[in-house]
């Protein structure tokens, strides 16, 4: 299996912490990964986005040496996951979908145990545990059992356990699923602080705002393939959360007219704020007119449309701003892919 190709990413591990090419994994009839490519630049927080069942977790589990690949090749931290799993394991941290900590041992005992299993001496394991407790704001809870922790605290202990050796690559598989907003922001803060230590973070999520808050770069995975490059969404731009939002994730303004006769005027008012001079879409049967507006200008656009409607002497049934969900974003991206294939 070739490691670099003219159109693929180079296999240079100084530049890329993770390089995967043509990964395939099949479970029975289901192709979990179907020629998945990935190149994660060193030192970035890389968001792997995709709908449920797209293959995000399978990809992470292969890169963490937990499951074997059926085809393709992957290097993590400069080592091949299939032939050098031990070398890979020394360079990675994993925080899976559930906080993988011992519920009965105290926070400190957990970190010391993981330290020993990373083959630190007992004094070093103790010292490293104290540092991590401090770094993740758990010093006061050091003597308590995780079963008495909040979701956010448990996640932070989980993160700390992945950071024993300050790994070169940290994999976070949906790190905030099931957390309340406070827990999520605690975890986000913890993850951001990690990037300061130079760790490359590979994050899977199905929350757009999470990718937006944390990731420098993103890739969109759909039905086992990386569809980032084939998607027109980024139009050659660097795939960042902002670019994704600009392309498909900007706010949408929606106006519901009183009667059908008003629609042309409503379209005119909405067209003034539409992103990149795009044409507003009309749904005649529901009397709705909607259009994407540039990122961050939703409220201004709303005010603008309301003013033009007023100036035109039109009253409307409803006017509002909608944020597309990530599911809609995926739908847009995958529809493009299906159309391209057809």
């Amino acid at each position: 299996m070739k490691i670099s190709s003219p159109d693929g990413p180079p296999g240079d591990s100084r530049e890329f912490s993770v390089v995967a090419q043509g990964l395939r994994k099949t479970y029975g009839d289901k192709r979990a990964l179907d020629g998945f490519d990935l190149a994660v630049p060193r030192g970035t927080v890389f968001g792997l986005l995709g709908p449920n069942g797209a293959g995000k977790t399978t990809a992470v589990r292969i890169l963490c040496t937990l499951i074997r690949l059926d085809g393709g090749s992957a290097r993590v931290g400069g080592h091949d996951v299939a032939s050098e799993p031990r070398m890979v394991r020394r360079r990675i941290g994993l925080t899976g979908q559930n906080p993988a900590v011992d519920e009965i041992m105290t926070a400190r005992q957990n970190l010391e145990m993981f330290g020993r299993l990373f083959h630190l001496g007992s004094a070093q394991a103790r010292r490293r545990a104290a540092e991590l407790l401090e770094q993740f704001g758990l010093t006061e809870a050091a003597g308590k059992q995780p079963k008495d922790f909040s979701g956010g605290m448990r996640r932070r202990l989980d993160l700390a356990s992945s950071m024993i050796l300050a790994p070169e690559v940290l994999f976070l598989d949906e790190p905030t699923t099931g957390l309340d907003p406070r827990g999520r922001s605690e975890v986000w803060q913890a993850v951001r602080s990690l990037t300061e230590t130079g760790t490359t973070v590979v994050l899977t999520t199905h929350y757009l705002d999470e990718a937006d808050k944390l990731a420098d770069r993103i890739a969109v995975i759909d039905r086992g393939r990386n569809v980032t490059d084939s998607s027109s969404a980024f139009r050659g731009e660097t795939p960042t959360p902002a670019a994704l939002k600009r392309a498909v994730g900007g706010d949408r303004i929606e106006v519901m007219a009183r009667e059908e006769a008003d629609i042309p005027d409503v379209v005119k008012a909405v067209a003034r704020v539409a992103a990149d001079g795009s044409e507003p879409e009309t749904e005649a049967e529901t009397l709705r007119v909607h259009a994407s507006v540039p990122v961050g200008e939703g409220v201004a656009a709303l005010t603008e449309v309301a003013r033009s409607l007023q100036e035109a002497g039109l009253t409307v049934e409803d006017i509002g701003l909608r944020r597309p969900t990530l599911d809609e974003v995926f739908l847009t991206l995958t529809r493009e892919r299906q159309e391209a294939a057809a």
Partner: protein, 291 residues
């Protein structure tokens, strides 16, 4: 390739620098060293659990203790196994064997909990010796079983059970009981790995119950219907029960069949067979967990 240029470069202190030292020296020796060290770390984890939850032992012993009270004091007077035998002298060694037999559920439950919480995945993604997760489980379960036996034997002594065998025979009897428990660890690990979640693991009792009870634990197979008696006779739990009864010098109603005449042998052979079959299965399943 430089194995020292690891991620530890970015660590805030000199932690983990010893890790790099492990790259020197003969590989095989180092592997063995870490396999043992990691196993001990896992055992210590289980000992910590035990220290933090002494009630765990009490819960696990709940069933045998209640059984002791029921069978010795409630049904005991109605139990006549012939030859003027005091029933508790017959039932106690059986109870020891049954506790060992049910032990595989504890193993399976611990394995399921770790798997479900993702702790097993974390271990598998770490540079520790992969064998340690399984061997650590084995060592701590045997230690746990030894503790269970001590408590149970203490209770048995209180209700009047005695071993009339020599000290050596008595010790050997306990070793045979632990051997049975040891062999069942592999069934427990294997079942724990193929069981989807904790709820499903609870259903393992439906397997454990007949396995423990359709045996010579409470009554000699000779009083059962022929077909059931045959199953009970060949049950590994029966072999261990009868072998330890002999060693303790406790009454053992004579059985005519080959299997009943050779319980001392079978109490060793059965665990060896079980281990030979299920240890490879368990290790293989562990290595290929989730694909």
């Amino acid at each position: 390739m430089s194995t020292t240029a690891t991620a530890t470069d970015t660590a805030t202190t000199d932690t983990a620098t010893t890790d790099t030292a492990t790259t020197a020296g003969p590989v095989r020796e180092r592997r063995l060293h870490w396999a043992l060290a990691d196993c001990w770390t896992i055992v210590r984890r289980d000992l910590t659990h035990l220290a933090k939850q002494p009630s765990l032992v009490a819960w696990q012993l709940g069933f045998p203790i209640v059984s002791v009270l029921l069978f010795v004091f409630v049904f005991g007077s109605a139990m006549d196994i012939g030859e003027g035998v005091d029933y508790k002298d017959y039932a106690m060694p059986g109870m020891f064997a049954m506790t060992m037999a049910f032990g595989f559920m504890n193993t399976a439950m611990s394995v399921v909990v770790d798997k479900e919480r993702g702790v097993t995945d974390r271990f598998r993604s770490m540079p520790m010796a992969p064998s340690a997760v399984v061997t650590g489980r084995g060592v701590s379960d045997v230690m746990h079983a030894a503790l269970d036996l001590m408590v149970l034997a203490g209770i048995a002594l209180v209700v009047g059970w005695r071993s009339d065998g020599s000290l050596l025979a008595t010790v050997y009897a306990f070793v045979l009981l632990l051997l049975l428990r040891f062999s069942l660890i592999w069934i427990g690990v294997w079942l724990g790995l193929i069981t989807p979640n904790q709820e499903a693991a609870g259903n393992l009792f439906a397997v454990a119950f007949p396995f423990g009870m359709i045996s010579s634990v409470f009554t000699p197979p000779s009083v059962m219907p022929d077909w059931l008696g045959a199953i009970a006779m060949w049950n590994p739990v029966s072999a261990t029960s009868n072998a330890v009864r002999e060693l303790y010098g406790n009454p053992l109603p004579a059985g005519g069949s080959w299997i009943e005449q050779h319980s001392a042998l079978m109490a060793v052979v059965w665990p060896l067979i079980i281990t030979a079959v299920f240890m490879p299965l368990a290790v293989r399943k562990f290595q290929r967990l989730s694909g």
